[in-house]
C-alpha cells in the first residue's frame, strides 16, 4: 500500500533506498533551484559557443535586441498575437481531440475509419498543409489557427486514444453495474482514468502548437513571433531570431507549467512515485 502524502519529516530520509520514498518530502525550493542552475548552465554554454567564434549571437547581443524590441512595443505585440493564435489552436485542438480519441478507443468502427487519416496527417509536415488551408479558409486568422489546431489535435488524439484503450476494465465494469451508460462512463470513468495520458497528449500538443507557429505565420501574417523570425531570417538578423526563439521557449515553458499544475490537481488520486 502506498502512502504518498505522508507527513514524515524530510530529514529522516535514511540511506540509499530512502531516495525514491522521500521525493515528496524534499524541501520545495530545491527543484526550482536546480531549474535555475540548469538554465544558467545553458546560458553559459551558449555564451562560450558564441565567444568561441561560432556564428551565433552572444547573449548580450540578444538581450540588447530584446530590449530594443520591447522598447518600441514590437515584441509585446508579437507575443500577444502569437499567444492568441497558439492558445486558440491548442485549446480547440485539445477540445476536439479528447472526444475523438474517446470515440476511437471506444467504438472499433470509428477507430477503423479515423485512424488511417490521423496517422497519415501526423506524418505530413505542417508546411505542406498550408496551401490547402489557404484554398479552403482564406488568408486571415482562420488558416493560421487551423494549422496550429491540427498540430495540437494530432498529438493529443493519439494519446487520448491510447489512454482510453488502457483504462482498467474493472473500473468500467464497476460503473456499468451501477447502471452507468456509455456517455456517463466516458465522462466519469474514462476521462478521469485516462487523465495522465490526455495530459501527456496536451503537453506534447502544446509543444507542437508552438513549433507550428512559424509555419502558420507563413500565411500572410503581419505580426507575431513566427513572422518576426522569418522576417529576421531573410535579413540574417540572428539576434532577432534568438529573441523569437527564446520568447517562444519561455512562453511554451510557462504554459507547460500551467498544464503541469493542472495535472497535479487532477491526478492527485494516483498512487504514484
Amino acid at each position: 500500500m502506498a502512502v504518498v502524502t505522508d507527513t514524515a519529516a524530510p530529514t529522516d530520509t535514511g540511506g540509499r533506498n530512502g531516495s525514491p520514498q522521500s521525493r515528496r518530502g524534499r524541501p520545495r525550493g530545491l527543484p526550482l533551484l536546480l531549474n535555475a542552475v540548469s538554465v544558467l548552465l545553458g546560458i553559459a554554454i551558449w555564451w562560450i559557443l558564441a565567444a568561441s567564434g561560432l556564428t551565433i549571437p552572444s547573449p548580450v547581443a540578444v538581450v540588447q535586441r530584446a530590449k530594443d524590441l520591447l522598447a518600441d512595443g514590437t515584441l509585446e505585440q508579437d507575443i500577444l498575437v502569437s499567444l492568441g493564435r497558439v492558445l486558440a489552436g491548442f485549446v480547440l485542438g485539445t477540445a476536439v481531440a479528447i472526444p475523438v480519441g474517446f470515440l476511437m478507443g471506444w467504438y472499433g468502427a470509428v477507430r477503423s475509419l479515423v485512424e488511417p487519416w490521423v496517422q497519415f496527417f501526423r506524418t505530413i509536415p505542417p508546411l505542406a498543409i498550408i496551401p490547402l488551408a489557404i484554398v479552403l479558409m482564406g488568408i486571415d486568422e482562420t488558416p493560421k489557427i487551423f494549422v496550429i489546431f491540427l498540430a495540437a489535435f494530432l498529438s493529443c488524439v493519439i494519446s487520448t486514444f491510447q489512454g482510453v484503450v488502457n483504462v482498467d476494465r474493472t473500473l468500467i465494469n464497476a460503473a456499468r453495474v451501477l447502471g452507468t451508460r456509455d456517455l456517463g462512463i466516458f465522462a466519469r470513468v474514462v476521462v478521469p482514468a485516462s487523465t495522465p495520458f490526455i495530459l501527456v497528449g496536451m503537453r506534447v500538443g502544446l509543444g507542437s502548437s508552438w513549433a507550428t507557429l512559424v509555419a502558420a505565420e507563413l500565411i500572410a501574417a503581419q505580426q507575431g513571433l513566427g513572422y518576426r523570425m522569418q522576417n529576421a531570417q531573410l535579413y540574417y538578423d540572428l539576434p532577432t531570431i534568438f529573441v523569437g526563439l527564446i520568447s517562444i521557449g519561455i512562453l511554451g515553458l510557462l504554459m507547460d507549467r500551467v498544464l503541469l499544475l493542472a495535472e497535479r490537481r487532477l491526478t492527485r488520486w494516483q498512487e504514484r512515485r
Binding site: T55, I130, I134, I139, L218, I219, A220, Q233, Y236
Partner: protein, 318 residues
C-alpha cells in the same frame, strides 16, 4: 543526380595523372539558372579539363549556401538576386555573374489594369525576394508606396494557392510559378515586368565563393572560374542542349526547364567581360545595393568592388 561530375574525374585523375587535381565543393539550386552551367561542365568534362574534381550539392536557397561557405562545407555556390545582399555585407565573394533574371512580374486579378488600381487592395509578396523588388520598383514608378496597399508578406508556395483561390488581389511574383497560377486564373493581368526597369535595376544571379577560398586558394578559384567561362561559352552557343542537360541533371521534364529558361536572359562571356570592365555590372550591383538599403537589409551602400571580384573573372579571358 548527385556528384556525377565529380565521380568520373576522381577515378581518372585522382592523383595518378601527374597533374595536381584539386577538389572543389560546389553548391547550386535546382533551376535553370542555378544548374545549367554545372550540367554543362559535367557533360563536357570541363572539370577534368581544368584539373578539378568537383562535388556538387543541391540546395533549396541561397542563404543556406552562404552559411555553408562560411563553415567551409562548400567552396562555391549559386545565389539569386534576392540573396545578393549577403555577399554585399561581406559574408562571401561574387566570383561570376551568371544570368539576368527576367521572370519577375507584378500580377493582379482580372479586371485590374494598372498599378494605381491596386491601391487599398491586398497584394502578396514573398519578402526579400525579387518578387518583393519588382513590386517596390513598380510602386515607385507609379508614385505609390507600400503603405498605399495592403501588403501581405507570404511564402512563395502560399501565394500560388492564395492567388488561385482569389484570396488576394495582386502579387509581386515570378515565373514559372505564375504559369501554375495561370492554369487556374488564365486571364490574370501582368502589371509590371523586369524589362520595364532595365535602365534602373537588373536582377543578376551569381556564383559566389567563400571569403577564405578566394583569399587562400587562388589556383582553385582561377580553375573554377575557367570552368564557368567555358560552360558559359557552351551555353550561349547551345541553348537547347543546355536545357536538355539541365533537365537530365535535375531529373525533371525538359519542357519545365524550357519554360524556366524562357525567363532568363543568358549572358555570354564576352558580354560579361565587357560589362565588368565598363562598370555595368558594378552599376547593377549598386542598384541592388540601393534596394537592399531601402529594404533595411544593408545598413549602408557598399562598393561592389569589395565583393565582386571582376578582375579575377576577366583575368580568365587570356
Amino acid at each position: 543526380l548527385l556528384s556525377a561530375c565529380g565521380k568520373d574525374d576522381s577515378s581518372s585523375s585522382g592523383g595518378s595523372g601527374g597533374g595536381k587535381t584539386e577538389d572543389v565543393k560546389f553548391g547550386y539550386i535546382g533551376d535553370y539558372n542555378g544548374t545549367s552551367l554545372l550540367a554543362i561542365a559535367d557533360d563536357q568534362k570541363l572539370w577534368a579539363k581544368h584539373g578539378l574534381n568537383a562535388t556538387t550539392r543541391v540546395f533549396t536557397n541561397g542563404p543556406l549556401q552562404i552559411q555553408a561557405l562560411g563553415t567551409g562545407d562548400l567552396d562555391f555556390g549559386y545565389i539569386g538576386p534576392g540573396a545578393m545582399w549577403l555577399p554585399a555585407s561581406g559574408q562571401a565573394k561574387v566570383v561570376a555573374i551568371n544570368t539576368l533574371g527576367n521572370a519577375d512580374r507584378v500580377i493582379a486579378q482580372p479586371g485590374i489594369t494598372s498599378i494605381e488600381q491596386l491601391k487599398g487592395k491586398s497584394v502578396a509578396v514573398p519578402e526579400g525576394t525579387s518578387g518583393d523588388m519588382i513590386l517596390t520598383l513598380a510602386l515607385k514608378k507609379a508614385g505609390l508606396t507600400k503603405q498605399d496597399l495592403k501588403v501581405v508578406p507570404m511564402d512563395a508556395s502560399v501565394i500560388v494557392s492564395s492567388f488561385s483561390s482569389k484570396k488576394i488581389d495582386g502579387a509581386g511574383f515570378w515565373y514559372p510559378a505564375i504559369a501554375t497560377i495561370k492554369k487556374q486564373v488564365p486571364d490574370l493581368v501582368e502589371l509590371a515586368k523586369n524589362d520595364d526597369f532595365s535602365s534602373e535595376v537588373s536582377f543578376p544571379t551569381a556564383f559566389v565563393a567563400g571569403n577564405k577560398v578566394v583569399a587562400e586558394q587562388q589556383s582553385k578559384t582561377q580553375k573554377t572560374i575557367a570552368v564557368l567561362r567555358d560552360a558559359m561559352q557552351f551555353r550561349t552557343e547551345n541553348m537547347d542542349k543546355s536545357i536538355e542537360l539541365t533537365a537530365k541533371m535535375l531529373k525533371i521534364p525538359a519542357e519545365q526547364v524550357k519554360a524556366d529558361a524562357a525567363n532568363v536572359k543568358v549572358l555570354s562571356v564576352q558580354e560579361l567581360d565587357t560589362m565588368t570592365k565598363d562598370g555595368t555590372i558594378n552599376k547593377w550591383l549598386t542598384g541592388m545595393g540601393d534596394y537592399f538599403v531601402g529594404a533595411g537589409k544593408l545598413k549602408s551602400q557598399v562598393d561592389p568592388s569589395t565583393y565582386y571580384t571582376g578582375d579575377l573573372f576577366t583575368a580568365g579571358a587570356k
